[in-house]
Symmetry: C2
Subunit: 253 residues, 2 copies
Amino acid sequence: MHILLTNDDGYQAAGIQTLYRTLRAKTTHKISIVAPDSQRSATGHSITLFHPLFFSEYQLDGEEKGYAVSGTPSDCVKLAVQGELVPKPDLVVSGINQGSNLGTDVFYSGTVSAAMEGVILGIPALAVSVASYEFVNFEPSAEYLAESLDHIVQGHQTGLLNINFPGNPRESWSGIKVTRLGRAVYDNVFERRVNPRGRVYYWQCGNLSKDLDEDTDLRAIQENYISITPMHSDLTDFKRIENYKKTFQKHTV
Amino acid sequence: MHILLTNDDGYQAAGIQTLYRTLRAKTTHKISIVAPDSQRSATGHSITLFHPLFFSEYQLDGEEKGYAVSGTPSDCVKLAVQGELVPKPDLVVSGINQGSNLGTDVFYSGTVSAAMEGVILGIPALAVSVASYEFVNFEPSAEYLAESLDHIVQGHQTGLLNINFPGNPRESWSGIKVTRLGRAVYDNVFERRVNPRGRVYYWQCGNLSKDLDEDTDLRAIQENYISITPMHSDLTDFKRIENYKKTFQKHTV
């Protein structure tokens, strides 16, 4: 299997580098890296249309190469596959991200969007995150992923699996839960300040108020489970299509 | 009804300004504008976490205000609602965008993402686009929207309607179709060039190869219909959840 690694924390980030080393050490897969040249968190699914994309090339172990690209996570996957920077991957793995990607927050996530770009291009994908900004050890999640990859990928021929690991050592993990995306709600999202010249500005921040519903990803992580959410790429609301067909049936232009 | 207008082409763009003037002239709704201070196309659902958000304030007709914000389309909706820049809107309308937002391209779209942000915050939303970069007359689509708004909003209590107008005069429109999102596939996406110093770079571009399936938005626009696609905000693939529960049933950490 040829795996394309990408992320949104940047090519040199500990999460992707630990994952690369661990997959090289514990599996026989071929691994390329195409990742942003700097931190691109919260870039969502943005792509670069009005600037060209430059990149630096690195020789990895074996025949594979790494590329640090002057673009977003989604640019990286598009450039890797459609620009044929690397051989066509069988799997896109995005991460390991520092910080959770749960619930409706997946829309803002560069990590999840890069994986979704793989899906749009017809390649199954994993988005992988550690649900903590303080726990900076990516070895437990990287090792778990390397050990379980064949099991996870078996039967995962299409679509995206959004995997969040608890932000603490492996011995305190509770187990695995297959979850749905919860609704991430934030309190106190904008903090108003005044600059020294008297101009008002806002900082976006806030505390996540957890969705406690039993089967959500937010709940699973709160209870120290690995959360695995199957995601698809179609935002069409099929349930509402028939209703709207009636609404617009007699409506003319 | 209080309507929040936003877009990704920027506060001064013809699309949003024409829509504002037309809704003011042809409806009695209150209308605020919170839009990016410059062009933010293809920003997807990115948000600004590492810089503060500044804005310029404008007095609109009536009591309402307009804000041009140093952020992305999604920032604008978040700041408007969660930062309480304007009274809580009953409807978010994002657009009118210059250029279509169809199929899987909705993931890259700042226009659609701003509307989706409304949905995440519990407010029904419309994303509105004219499917042409050459046809720069927004009056036909703005007028149609103003005339039909009550009909469109009736029964639209939740979720997003993604509306694309044909990029030509109203007399050539074929009618209205309620559609699903098609799969947007591009040919020749990355054009490789070498700069005067010998460094390779890529431009992202390409021609859309249309999804001709009968019920897609791409097909509807190709045939000069107004395309209306109901969208939701949950990317969970519920069909696959049960399968994965079996896969991971006996899997331990």
